[in-house]
Point group: C2
Chain length 344, copies 2
């Protein structure tokens, strides 16, 4: 299903913000080392040196390519991202992003403050030409693993040209990462007819139709599951609500199934079914979300990830880095920009 040059392929240098995530270095270090088992990677663990080295001491890393890169402090979820970057120039996310800028790393993985990771990436790596903001996208449902959603929540009020760039970036991801030929791009709305939708949909519809993308028109909420469309475009307001709604519903349904089946299945089997159901509605926790639109491969993980989620995000990022995702996206945006589609 996936192109896979990372595995057993060229060495990928991975900078991990070891201070990020709700569980901090104990999980990030564990997850990063797990990822080494599957991929040919060089690990750069960025964080407070003593803390990270204390974690590393729990593992046998002899002969493995693992380095600690010292930073000071972290930017919390409760801090304003830009202010945080200003006040903490040596924070883990900034030091890790600098490794990308200097070419010492090929991939950045962060489970820390999403705002700070995005701001740091934009600030140090720069936005791709033609783009006004980056976005987060990818598949997010185990029951619809080939349906890509962009934007997952990074852009709240979006101009039509930004919506078109979501379509282009999602399209490249769908083609390059999922191997889908000529991905069908749809605009999330309340009906499939062109007239259905809010003002934003109407304006974006026209621009998408004029673009070179394989735009199939409006799609609806059920189309995440129908196979009608490969890339679903919406603003980050709607995208974020859908993502969090799905997580909540998945948790509620896995509890429901556990109660509904109690007594019908052995307890351990029941637990596994319930876990699987939860997993299938919480895919970003297991594979991370790629940050689209900055000049470098950056993976943003869910703050509540455990080690396996961190390993999963590294896995996704290594695959993306290996197939040159960033270059392909840059080319696609240049094509849109030269047609004037990113101006309104």
């Amino acid at each position: 299903m996936f192109k896979d040059p990372g595995r057993g392929g060229a060495l990928v240098k991975v900078a991990v913000d070891a201070m990020g995530g709700d569980f901090g270095p104990s999980e990030t270090v564990k997850g990063a080392l797990q990822a080494m088992e599957a991929h040919n990677i060089e690990l750069l663990l960025v964080g407070d040196r003593e803390v990270v080295e204390a974690e590393l001491a729990h593992y046998d890393i002899k002969g493995k390519s693992v380095q600690v890169v010292a930073s000071e402090g972290k930017i919390g979820d409760d801090e304003h991202p830009i202010e945080g970057l200003r006040r903490k120039p040596k924070s883990s996310i900034l030091v890790a992003t600098k490794l990308m800028k200097t070419g010492d790393a090929d991939l950045l993985v962060s489970m820390g403050s999403t705002g700070a990771s995005m701001a740091s990436s934009v600030f140090l790596l720069g936005l791709m030409e033609g783009l006004e903001r980056p976005c987060i996208g990818g598949p997010f449902l185990g029951v619809a693993p080939r349906t890509v959603l962009v934007d997952m929540g990074s852009n709240i009020d979006c101009r039509p040209s930004l919506m078109v760039s979501f379509g282009a970036l999602g399209s490249v991801f769908s083609h390059e990462y999922l191997g889908i030929e000529n991905p069908k791009v749809g605009l999330l709305s309340v009906g499939s007819e062109a007239a259905k939708g809010n003002r934003q949909v109407h304006d974006s519809y026209e621009l998408l139709q004029e673009s070179h993308l394989n735009f199939i028109g409006n799609v609806e909420g059920m189309d995440f599951f129908t196979g009608r469309v490969d890339v679903i475009v919406c603003d980050g307001f709607v995208g974020n609500i859908i993502m969090k709604f799905t997580e909540g519903l998945g948790t509620a349904l896995s509890r429901y199934v556990e109660q509904r089946l109690a007594g019908h299945l052995p307890a351990d089997e029941l637990g596994k079914v319930s876990d699987d159901l939860w997993q299938t509605t919480n895919m970003p926790r297991t594979m991370g979300g790629p940050l689209f639109g900055v000049n470098g491969m950056v993976m943003i993980g869910h703050g509540s990830c455990r080690a396996s989620g961190i390993a999963g995000a590294i896995d996704t990022g290594v695959r993306c880095a290996g197939i040159g995702m960033v270059d392909s996206m840059r080319q696609e945006l240049a094509r849109l920009a030269s047609a004037g589609a990113l101006k309104s």
Copy 2:
């Protein structure tokens, strides 16, 4: 859980648009007769006389209070609602709504074109004072049966004052129908802090905060399931996407569970579990959606309803009619209007 004056209580006269719904009179008539078993109702089946009478001939209705009220034709889902009403003045939805206007019916139930049912209700029954448009609301998740969502899809671009009226109408439904004291009203957004959200959320936030409603601030996608909030307010664009997304996800997950459990449970038991899971994500198909804001009790059903869904919508409507939902909503809106909250 429910106040229940309909059951065994005063007679409720129910007008059913017998021509509506994807399966037409065979299911509407069957469902309406089913509802008679649980409630003290007088049934007015509105439709092409011969067609409806032919359906009725399959049942023993001796001694039952069932009348056929003749109409001519129906307005289809593919027709423009207002044009349809103009071109077909004797259509089933118009004749049924007239029965409400003349006081010959206490409750209207329609599974036909939602647009036509709404337009007919607004045109003949009128909007409640202070309101610019009606809306559809109610609980929609079996795993969160006490969380009310307004609007479910009838208003795409909404001004802040309309969002406040959604909060008021949902609040009355939550209090009167679900028996929740002082329902907590939340605004659906991308974070719980006041600063989080799009322009519409910011503007509506202020108005809601100034209102007499028990406004708790912004809520997020997962809060449908957390018990933090009783009434979730969003525009119909987001509401419709969530509703359809939930239906799609429910269908996909029930298939997933069926495959996941194959061999672990007997086939018939497995089928029941899968059905239950589907049902719990498709609540509006079993209970209908009340139309809020018109001067009369109107239930809008899902077009794909079978008889049980029609009986369910009648059941919900009879309960609402019995507790004077429409009067309570009118009073609540008057209170908002007198405070000037419905003007911007």
